[in-house]
Symmetry: D2
Subunit: 305 residues, 4 copies
C-alpha cells in the first residue's frame, strides 16, 4: 500500500493548485497550499504514513463527529434524536434556510453547523468551561493523544469573525433549540474547532469508528458500538458537506472533512484513515485528499457498496 | 430467521393501521391496508418467504433502480453523470424547487422524480416503444422472471392523473435536460412504475445488487459491478425519499421504496430482501415494512456501519 | 410635452444597445433592438405620439391586465379572490416555487404566469374557443380597435416551445387550481399573449384604467370602476416583474410590461401611456421605455406618492 | 366623518376578539385586546379623534419609516440605494432566506427587519448614542411632539429576547452589509422600536408624508419632497408585511403597521391618519384598525387607484 501511495502521491498533490486554502480567518490562510499527508492504520496496529503526516492543523468540522459521540454518551439516543434530525439537508453546511422553512424546528442533522452547535449544547457540564473540559478529555481518550490542545490564534480569530455561526446560534436560541447563552456556547464550539491534530489523530478516531468502538490493538471497547454506527451513518449521509453523495459514489466509505484540510475516513473493519491537504475544492473538501482516497479506494476496493 | 420473523410479524403488521394506503390513483387505493409480506434470499439461493409474499403489486419508484442500471449500461458513467447529479436533495421526491434554484440545471440524483424521468430518457431506443421494450426485457433479466408485465389499470390511471410528473417533465424539457417529447416519455415512465412484482422479484434484484452484479447461484455476472456499487450508494443517500437518513441510521443498508408498498433492500454479500406492505408512513415508505427491517437488522446485525 | 419627448428621445433610445431583445421564441428575436415608440393620450382625447408608435408588436404579459378585468367582470370579486391571491411574490414571474411552498395552494397574484393562467381559466365560455372569442371581443371593446388580431407565427412558436408554462399549467391542475385541460387552456393563454398591438392601443387601455373605467372622451363607463382600481393596485404591486418596486419608487404610477417590449402605464386622472421598446433589461422590462417614463415622470410630476 | 366613524366604530372594535395581541415580549402582552383608537388630521389642521386615541403604545416597526427618512437625509439616494434594495420580498418580515439566496447581498427593502437594521446603521453619528440621539430628535421634529421617549420596559424586554433580530444582525455583519457591532446596533434599533406614541403622533407623520414633506399648517417644508415620495412608495409595496398587496387593493393608500398595534396611513394631499388597535391578524397588522380603514376608504374614496 505504501508503494502505491508513493506512486500516486505526486499527481494527487499537484491537484492542490486547482483548489484554495480557506481564507475566512487569517490563521487558516497561512496554510501551505501544496501540503498533503496521510496516515493509515490497520486493525493489527500497523501504521503507514506519507507526506505531511506530522503537520499540525485545526480539526474544524471534523470535531463534530467527536462531540456527536460524547453527546450520545451523555444523553442516549432517545433524548439525542428528540433534538437532532436524521436527514441530509441538500443545502450548504452553514445554511439557515431549512431552520426557517422546516415544520419541525430542529436541525436536520448533527453535521451541519446548526446541528453541531446544538450537539455541543447537549454535552453535560454545569458551566461552559466544564463542558469543554469534558469534551477535550474525550478527544484525548479516543485519539490516545494526551497532548491535544487548541490553537489559540485560530480560536480567537473564529471568535472574532464567526458572524455566520453567531447568526445561527441566535436563531437556534429563538427557536428554543438550544438552552445556553448563544455567545458562550459558541466559545466552546469555536474551541472544539480549533483543536490541533495530525493525520495520525484522525486515523486513530477513524479506526475506532470503523471497528464500532472497539480498539483492535488494546481490545478495549472505547466507544459504545451503537453510537459508532450512528456516527458512521451520519458521515455517509452528510459528512462531506454537499459533496457527500459524490464521496459515497466515488469512494464508498463514511467520511468527514473540515475546512482546515483534514479528512477522517473509516474503512469498516479494515482501516482508519486520516488525510491532510489544506487546498479545498468548491464544496469545502480537500481537493488532493479526495483524489488520494479515490485512487486508494479503487485500488484496494474500499467501497462498502 | 424464519422463526424470528414469525415471532415479530404480527406486531409489525399491526402498525399498518397507523399508516395510509397511497390514494392518488384509484387502483392503489384498493390495496388491503393490513397486508405484509417478505422474501429473503441468501447467497446460497435459499429463500425464506412469509405473509403476503405472493401478492402482486406495482413496483412504482423501485423501478428507478432498474432503469438506473440500464441507463448506466447504455451510456457509461461519464455520459450518465453529465446529466444526473450525485447528491441528496433534502426536498420531497416530487419537488421542482431545486431544479429552479440550482445553478446547475440537472436533477440532483436519479431517484427523485425529475432524475428518474431523465434516466428513462437516457435508455437507448429509437422510439418510445423500443425504449420500453428494452427496459422490460432488462427487468426480466435481473429478476429471472419472464412473466413480468404492467398493470394496465394502474398505468392508465397514472397517465390520466399524473399532473405533477407532467409538470416536472415539461420543466425538464424547458431546461434542456431531456430530449424526448415530455408526454411520450412519461408514457414509458408511467409504464415502468406500473410493472407488477412480488416480494420475490424484489429480493432477486436486491440479491444481485448486494453481490455487486454477480448472481451467486448461477455464478454469472449479470450486471456490471461498478454500476451496482453506484446504485447501492444512491439508494443509501436518497433511496427512501426524505426518510433515507433515518433508514441508514436505524437499519444501515441500502434501500429503495415505492408508493405501491414495496421495499427492495440488499444486505451486502449476505441477503437480498423484498418487502411488501402498502400502508405508508408520512414519508411514503411502508410503515410495517420498515419496522420489520429494523427488527431484522437489530437481530441479525445487517448494518454496514 | 412633445418637445420634451423629442429632446430626450435620442438618449433613451441609445440605451437600447445595453439590453437584449427577448429570444425565447424566434418570432420575437426578429424585433429591431433600437426601436422606441410612445403614445400619450390625455383626458381631453389629445394624442401625442413619437418614434415607432405605429409598429405592431405582440402584447405578451400586458394581456394579463385585460384578462384580469374580464375575469373580474365574469366572476365578481368574491369568487375571483377565492382563486387568486393579493400579494407580490418576490420571485421571478415564471417561478413555480411559491406554488410548492405556500400553504394556500393558489397563485399569489394574477400577474405572475401561474396566476394569469388561472385568470384565463376563469373567463366564462363553454369551450376554449368561446373563452378566447369573448376575450378578444373585450380587447376590442377597451381599445376601441376592431382590427386587433393575433400574430399566428408568434402564437405557434409559443405553443411549440412554451414548456415552462406547460409545467406551470400541469402543476396548477395537480393542485386543483384550474379546471380546464392544461394544454387546451394554454392555447387561449398563448393566443392572448400573441395579440398584436401598437402603443396607441396600450395608451387607450391605460387611459381607461387611470380614469377608473370611464372613457373621458365618450363619457361612457366602459369598465367597472372597482375592477379598474383592483387592476391598478395589482400593477403597482407586481406589474413590472421583480422591477415593480423600482418602478413605484422611480416613476410612481401603475405599470405593466411585456417581453414583446410594451409598457402600459396609467397616470391616474391625467394620461394613458403606451410605450414600445423591445430591448429588455435583466428584469424583462423595456430598457429604453423605462428611462423614457422616468424622465417624463420627473419632468411632469407623474408620481402618485 | 366623525359621525361615520362613530357609526362603524363598534363593529370594527368587535373584530378585535378574532385577533391576538403580540406576545413575544411580556410588555406587549399586557395591551388591552379590545382597544381601538384613531386620529385623522386634514390639510387645514383640523383633527378628528375617536376611541383610545390618547393611549400610549410602542411604535415598533412604524419607526422604520422615520429612520428611513433620516437615513435618506443623511446619505442621499445614491448611497442609500447602494445598500438597500427596492423590492418586496414575498417572505415574512423577519425572514433570513432572501439574504442567503439572493445574488446581491443587500436587504430587499428598508421595511423588512434586515433592511431596517441596515437603515439604522446608516444614520450618521460617531457613536451608537449619537445615532440614537439624532434619530429621536428627528422623531420629535416630524411629530412636533417634544415629549417623545422610549418605554424602558419594552426596550429591555426586546433587548433580552430579540434573538431573531440578533441572528439577522450577525448575518448582515457576515455579509458585510452593516458596519457597526451587531449587538450595539441593535441597541438603537430596539430603542427606536420602543418609542411611545399616540395615534396623533402617527397622524402627524402621515400628514407630512401625504403632503410630500410640507407641513400644511405651518407651510414649512419639514422633510425633503423626494424622500417622502420614496417612503410612500416603499410603504405601498411592503409597508404592511405580507398583507401589503391586500392593503393596496382594499384600501388603496400607503400604510405602515407595527406589532404594537399602530398603523400610519397617509391619504395623499388630503389626510394623515394614525390608528391604534393592538389585536393583530395573522399577518401582524391591527385587525380592527384595518377594518376601520377599509370602511373609511370605501366611504370617502381614499384609494389612489
Amino acid at each position: 500500500m505504501k508503494a502505491f501511495i508513493s506512486e500516486i502521491f505526486k499527481d494527487c498533490s499537484a491537484l492542490s493548485s486547482k483548489g484554495q486554502v480557506a481564507d475566512y480567518i487569517p490563521a487558516l490562510k497561512n496554510s501551505s497550499i501544496d501540503n498533503l499527508g496521510i496516515t493509515i492504520i490497520d486493525t493489527s496496529g500497523e501504521i503507514i504514513s506519507y507526506g505531511h503526516h506530522d503537520k499540525k492543523f485545526t480539526i474544524q468540522s471534523i470535531s463534530k463527529v467527536v462531540s456527536l459521540l460524547l453527546a450520545l454518551e451523555d444523553n442516549g439516543t432517545e433524548k439525542f434524536f428528540s433534538r437532532i434530525g436524521k436527514e441530509a439537508s441538500g443545502d450548504p453546511f452553514n445554511s439557515i434556510i431549512k431552520l426557517e422553512t422546516s415544520t419541525e424546528s430542529k436541525p436536520l442533522n448533527p453535521l451541519i453547523n446548526s446541528g453541531a452547535i446544538t450537539v455541543t449544547d447537549m454535552i453535560h457540564g454545569n458551566t461552559v468551561e466544564e463542558k469543554f473540559e469534558r469534551l477535550i478529555e474525550y478527544f484525548k481518550l479516543i485519539t490516545g493523544n494526551e497532548e491535544l490542545k487548541i490553537n489559540e490564534e485560530v480560536f480567537l480569530s473564529e471568535k472574532e469573525t464567526g458572524n455566520r455561526n453567531k447568526a445561527i446560534a441566535f436563531f437556534l436560541k429563538e427557536l428554543g433549540v438550544i438552552d445556553s447563552d448563544p455567545l458562550k456556547l459558541l466559545d466552546i464550539y469555536f474551541k472544539q474547532c480549533s483543536i490541533e491534530v495530525t493525520t495520525k489523530d484522525l486515523a486513530k478516531i477513524a479506526l475506532l469508528l470503523g471497528n464500532r468502538g472497539l480498539d483492535p490493538i488494546s481490545g478495549k471497547q472505547i466507544v459504545n458500538k451503537k453510537y459508532c454506527s450512528i456516527c458512521n451513518a451520519y458521515m455517509t449521509i452528510c459528512g462531506m458537506y454537499d459533496g457527500s453523495g459524490e464521496f459515497a459514489i466515488n469512494i464508498g466509505i463514511p467520511g468527514k472533512s473540515g475546512v482546515g484540510g483534514g479528512i477522517l475516513a473509516p474503512v469498516p473493519e479494515r482501516y482508519g484513515i486520516g488525510v491532510y491537504g489544506p487546498s479545498l475544492n468548491k464544496k469545502g473538501n480537500s481537493i488532493a485528499g479526495i483524489k488520494l482516497l479515490e485512487l486508494l479506494s479503487e485500488e484496494f476496493d474500499f467501497s462498502m457498496y
